[in-house]
Symmetry: C2
Subunit: 207 residues, 2 copies
C-alpha cells in the first residue's frame, strides 16, 4: 500500500492518522509540493485534479482524502472508526460535512494570511483573514454547543473519522497564532487536548 502525499499536507495527515489508528502500515511516497510535483504528468496520471493524497492499494488507485479514509476504515483490520449505530454514524457524517463546508474554507483563509503569508512572503488579505476568522469562530461555536450536550466525541462516545477530518486543520491554528480560537472555548479545548494527545497523532505530526 502506497500513499502519494506530503507529511505536512492536511489531507495527507488524515490518511496517515487513519492508518495509525487502525494499526496498519503503508509506504509514504513524498510529493514535493514546493516543487509543484503534484502538477507533474506522473502525479496527474494518478490524480487528475493534481492534488495530494492518492492511495494505491495493490493497483486499486483512489483519491480524495475523505474517500480514502472511509475506504481504509473498511479495508484495514483494527478498531472501527465508523460507529455501527445508524444515528451515531449519521452524526459522524454530519460533522465531516461541517468540517468540509464551514470550518475548512474559513480556517484555510486564516492560514493563507498568517502562517503561509509569512513563510512564502505573500501579501496579507486582511478582509479575507477577518472573514475566515469569523467563519471559523462560527463553526467552533457550533462545535462548542454540541460538546456542551455531553458528547465526548463528535459522533458520540467514540473517536471516529469525524475527528480525523477536523484535526489537521485545527492543528495548524497554533503555529498560525490563532490557537486561542480553540483555547477560549472550554469544551472544545478539553476535546482538543484529549484527541491531540493520542500517540497516533503525535506520530503523524512528528511531535
Amino acid at each position: 500500500m502506497k500513499i502519494y502525499g506530503n507529511p505536512m499536507s492536511t489531507c495527507t495527515r488524515k490518511v496517515l492518522m487513519t492508518i495509525a489508528e487502525k494499526g496498519g502500515s503503508a509506504e509514504l511516497v513524498t510529493v514535493d509540493l514546493g516543487k509543484q510535483e503534484q502538477k507533474s504528468a506522473e502525479h496527474v496520471a494518478r490524480h487528475p485534479f493534481g492534488v495530494v493524497p492518492v492511495l494505491d492499494d495493490d493497483g486499486f488507485v483512489i483519491y480524495e482524502s475523505r474517500a480514502i479514509i472511509r475506504y481504509l476504515d473498511h479495508r484495514l483490520e483494527g478498531q472501527d472508526l465508523t460507529p455501527s449505530d445508524t444515528r451515531e454514524r449519521a452524526r459522524m457524517d454530519q460533522w465531516m460535512q461541517i468540517e468540509q463546508s464551514y470550518l475548512t474554507p474559513n480556517l484555510m483563509q486564516i492560514l493563507y494570511n498568517t502562517l503561509f503569508a509569512k513563510m512564502f512572503g505573500r501579501p496579507v488579505d486582511k478582509d479575507a483573514l477577518a472573514k475566515g476568522k469569523a467563519g471559523t469562530e462560527k463553526a467552533l461555536d457550533v462545535l462548542e454547543k454540541h460538546l456542551e450536550s455531553g458528547t465526548k466525541y463528535l459522533a458520540g462516545d467514540t473517536f471516529s473519522l469525524a475527528e480525523i477530518t477536523w484535526m489537521p486543520y485545527l492543528e495548524y491554528l497554533f503555529p498560525a497564532e490563532h490557537g486561542d480560537l480553540i483555547n477560549s472555548r472550554a469544551r472544545t479545548k478539553a476535546w482538543w487536548e484529549t484527541i491531540s494527545s493520542r500517540p497516533t497523532w503525535k506520530h503523524v505530526t512528528g511531535k
Copy 2:
C-alpha cells in the same frame, strides 16, 4: 419524518431523490428561500448555519444533505444505494467528493452568472463565469474518461448515492443554457439520459 427544505434547492433534491429511490415518504415543509426563511430564528434552531435541508426523523434532527442521504440509505427499507463491495463503495465516496470539491463550486458559478443573474436581475461576473465553466469542463472531462472505462454508473454497475449528489447540479445546466457541456460528451450524455429518465427523478423535478 419531516424535511425542511425547498423543492427547487439542489441539496433538498438530493434528499427527495433518495427518499423516492428507497420508496419511502416524508413530509416536505417548505422553507421560502426568496423570503430568506432559512435565516429565521426558527430555522437556525434546526440548522445553525442557516441553510436547507434539515431532516427531522421523529426528533432525531440532522442537517447537511450528503450526511442526510447516507442516513436515509441506512434508515429506510428499499434498494441499497451504497454498494456492498468495498472498492465500489470507495469509488462512490470518491465521486461524491469530486462533486463537492471540483464540480459544484464551479458549476454554481455558471448558474449564478446566467440563470440566477437573469432571474434576480443581478450583474454578471464574466471572469467568474469563465472560470466556473472551465472548472466544470475539467470535472466533466474526468467523468467522461471514467465512463469510457466501461462502468455504467459512477460506482460501478449500480445507481448509487454518487449519482444522487451529481444530478441536481447537472439538471440546472439546461435552463442555464449550458446543457452542451453534457451533450458534447458522448458517455456523459448517455449516462445523463439514463439517470435523468428515472421516474423518481421526474417526480422530484416535477417533470
